[in-house]
């Protein structure tokens, strides 16, 4: 059959045109606009004057930016790898169960994931309430001094990281379970015929074959946690917001509280850059690690 390549191109273009138009309108155009905005002193809404790279250079000495940067890094460190590890551990445990019991246990781990963040906030805020929280009674029973968890800088980020893992690990467990089910049982049979112990089976069979899922999980988590905002914002209400800042919170403060669209855009561009660099690095490391195995 003689194919008209040009005609096919035309049809292809026609078919993807709606997508391209929408993608350009709601993603490409705003992104370019954000870059341009970051070089102006624009308010949240409206035009601003060109100020060169001032919005960027002042970030160097900006204390709140520093706090936001390091808190974000700290949060990522406390949530990405631990969160993935917890999910893997639970998935391994759940996969040993079977039938309805497995479904029940899985549902229990998945339940927090379907709750909206505001509900998560209310549950934990009351649990940890300094005067009336249930957790505080547990502290009293154990003879530990009560800790105002969300009001101290020492405990704030670790607590929010813990809650985030508790909240979101249901989804990661599902991914891991799917990965575990995809490993053919013959390999396990072969391993047991060769007298491989549990640890050996895990380290030589499960772990390498599950690696693509682990890498995927880590990448999703990394990008998600770099953009952390909701939980930090909610748990900071009335507390010590400027000590608990993370990058997106700082963007929010600049844009919506201080009405400085230009300066907010500059921080957003920096975060954009960080997410790209970290994701590419992460991807390369995962690839290398995967090849080694």
């Amino acid at each position: 059959m003689i194919r008209d390549a040009r005609k096919e191109w035309g049809i292809a273009l026609l078919l993807i045109a709606p997508f391209l138009a929408i993608y350009g309108l709601v993603f490409i155009y705003p992104t370019i606009d954000m870059f341009l905005l970051s070089f102006t002193d624009a308010p949240l809404i409206g035009e601003g004057d060109y100020v060169g790279t001032e919005n960027y250079t002042r970030l160097v000495d900006d204390r709140r930016f520093g706090t936001a940067f390091w808190n974000t890094a700290y949060f990522v460190a406390l949530s990405v790898v631990p969160g993935t590890a917890v999910a893997l551990f639970i998935a391994l445990a759940v996969s040993r169960l079977s039938g309805r019991f497995q479904a029940l246990i899985l549902a229990m781990f998945f339940l927090p994931y379907i709750l909206p963040v505001s509900v998560i906030y209310l549950i934990w805020d009351w649990t940890m309430n300094f005067q009336f929280g249930i957790a505080m009674h547990v502290y009293d029973l154990l003879g530990i001094e009560r800790i105002p968890v969300f009001k101290t800088t020492t405990w704030f980020i670790p607590a929010v990281a813990f809650i985030t893992i508790w909240w979101t690990c249901g989804f990661n467990i599902l991914l891991f379970l799917a990965g575990l089910r995809a490993i053919p049982t013959e390999i396990y049979e072969a391993a047991s015929l060769d007298n491989a112990g549990r640890w050996r089976t895990f380290s030589r069979v499960t772990w390498p074959l599950l690696w693509p899922i682990t890498a995927l999980n880590l990448t999703i988590q990394l990008i998600l946690q770099l953009k952390i905002f909701d939980q930090v914002y909610l748990f900071s209400q009335g507390g010590r917001p400027n000590d608990n800042l993370v990058m997106v919170y700082y963007i929010f403060q600049r844009a919506f509280q201080s009405n400085q669209g230009g300066r907010a855009a500059a921080v957003a561009v920096v975060l954009f850059g960080i997410v790209i660099i970290v994701s590419v690095l992460n991807f390369q490391i995962m690839r290398l690690a995967g090849r080694k195995q």
């Binding site: 809404i45 900006d62 005067q131 009335g238 507390g239 400027n242 403060q253 919506f256």
Partner: protein, 422 residues
């Protein structure tokens, strides 16, 4: 969309009146952020207004979420020309709103048309809606903080005057004596303080600064001269109450109210908006004998931080003269009928209401309304106001200081740095 909404509302309104008249009825689109007890009372006022203006004006009211969401929504709605005809606002946010060109000026002619004038308002309240000599809102109320107290516990500790007010309200020593007496008498928390919420404590601390004539902002600079020292003094008083075990620590807002109403805290500094809570609980027999008075004079003279709920007209709507007249009528009518609004605890801003005999009979409102003479408002800067950046800076350092984690002087240094860095 806007036209569609208008048409729908118009159609509904017309259907309601079809039999009565063909006179054009003005629909006033109204946004407020009044939820809870205030909201119910405002709803009642709106219904009363609609009933009194049947066939002429009807208010189409929507209640939105308080704080940053509300102010952001106003900003975007003005930008795209979808703003309401009238909205509630906080006086403390007016400087930022004017800066953003969000508010339509309320001219002297407008005030004349409403039958309201500067003389009807306290000087501080009038000043709070004024930017560069022009008025941008009509004050509805002022909502200061007051000292709530448990008469039973104070009496048991021997610190209640014969007229039912607490003793020691005129000096730091006197007030400390009252707190100590309560403590010695077995009260867990002599003073319930919202120590977990630095935003909230700003009101108390700023009041104590005002008692020393301290100012947050002078000539565009924060905490210049001895103002830093005055803030340190204020923080030290509160930090000492914590160190001496006289006030609740790390207590958030609902917990503070719970401590007070359950009798674990004998006194509480809180907004007047909690008055209805107490009134209702008392009527249902769930509360002890209680009262509310102006804050104690810890330093030189009485002073209380207040903010105002105001009515404002957003910019950018092409408003017909008839529509604007209707909006002015709404503001005027509700101001003049704001006695009912006082049951929400707020002090009506319109003088003739608070001077009326009916208001004098309302307790504890009539007792604490004397503080209107000693009110101070937020500094006039776009950075001020509820949910504004100043609040965040303050909160960040107030929380550790008020709970004994940070030295007041150190906190003030940090606050000064961050405020001037905004």
């Amino acid at each position: 969309m806007k036209h569609l909404t208008k048409m729908t509302v118009g159609a509904v309104a017309l259907a309601g009146l079809s039999a009565t008249s063909a006179v054009a009825q003005e629909t006033v689109v109204w946004w407020d952020f009044l939820a809870g007890g205030d909201g119910v009372r405002m709803q009642q006022l709106i219904e009363d207004f609609n009933a009194a203006h049947e066939g002429e004006i009807v208010i189409d009211a929507t209640t939105l979420e308080w704080g940053v969401p509300f102010y952001t929504k106003v900003q975007t709605s003005v930008a795209v020309g979808e703003a309401p005809d009238i909205m509630t606002y906080h006086a403390s946010r007016i400087p930022l709103a004017v800066d953003q060109n969000l508010l339509s000026e309320i001219t002297p002619e407008d005030f004349e048309a409403m039958g309201l004038s500067q003389d009807d308002y306290a000087a501080a309240t009038w000043d709070a809606v004024t930017v560069d000599g022009a008025q941008y809102a009509v004050p509805l109320d002022t909502h200061p903080i007051v000292l709530y107290y448990n008469k039973d516990l104070l009496e048991a500790a021997g610190r209640l005057n014969e007229d039912g007010t607490p003793m020691g309200m005129d000096s730091l020593e006197g007030f400390n004596e009252t707190l100590q007496a309560l403590k010695d008498n077995g009260v867990a928390y002599p003073l319930g303080s919202v120590t977990a919420d630095g935003n909230f404590m700003f009101r108390t601390i700023y009041s104590l600064m005002g008692q020393q004539d301290g100012e947050l902002m002078t000539d565009g600079e924060f905490l210049a001269g001895d103002n830093a020292e005055k803030l340190t003094n204020a923080l030290t008083v509160l930090a000492n109450w914590t160190n001496d075990g006289l006030q609740s620590t790390y207590t958030d807002y609902p917990a503070t109210v719970a401590l007070f109403t359950s009798g674990e805290a004998a006194m509480m500094i809180n907004g007047v908006w909690e008055v209805p809570t107490m009134v209702d609980a008392y009527e249902q027999g769930n509360l002890f004998e209680w009262g509310a008075v102006e804050l104690p004079v810890i330093f030189d003279h009485p002073s209380t931080y207040a903010d105002s709920h105001v009515f404002a007209i957003p910019n950018g709507n092409d408003m017909s003269p008839e529509k604007r007249a209707a909006v002015l009528e709404v503001m005027s009518w509700i101001s003049q009928n704001s006695l009912f609004w006082a049951t929400a605890g707020h002090i009506p801003a319109y003088g003739p209401v608070t001077q009326s005999e009916d208001y004098a009979a309302m307790e504890p409102n009539a007792t604490y309304s004397s503080l209107t003479e000693n009110m101070i408002f937020d500094p006039k800067t776009p950075l001020a106001g509820v949910a504004g950046p100043i609040f965040d800076v303050m909160s960040t350092y107030f929380v550790p200081t008020l709970n004994g984690e940070m030295d007041p002087a150190e906190a003030v240094e940090e606050i000064k740095y961050e405020l001037n860095d905004l």
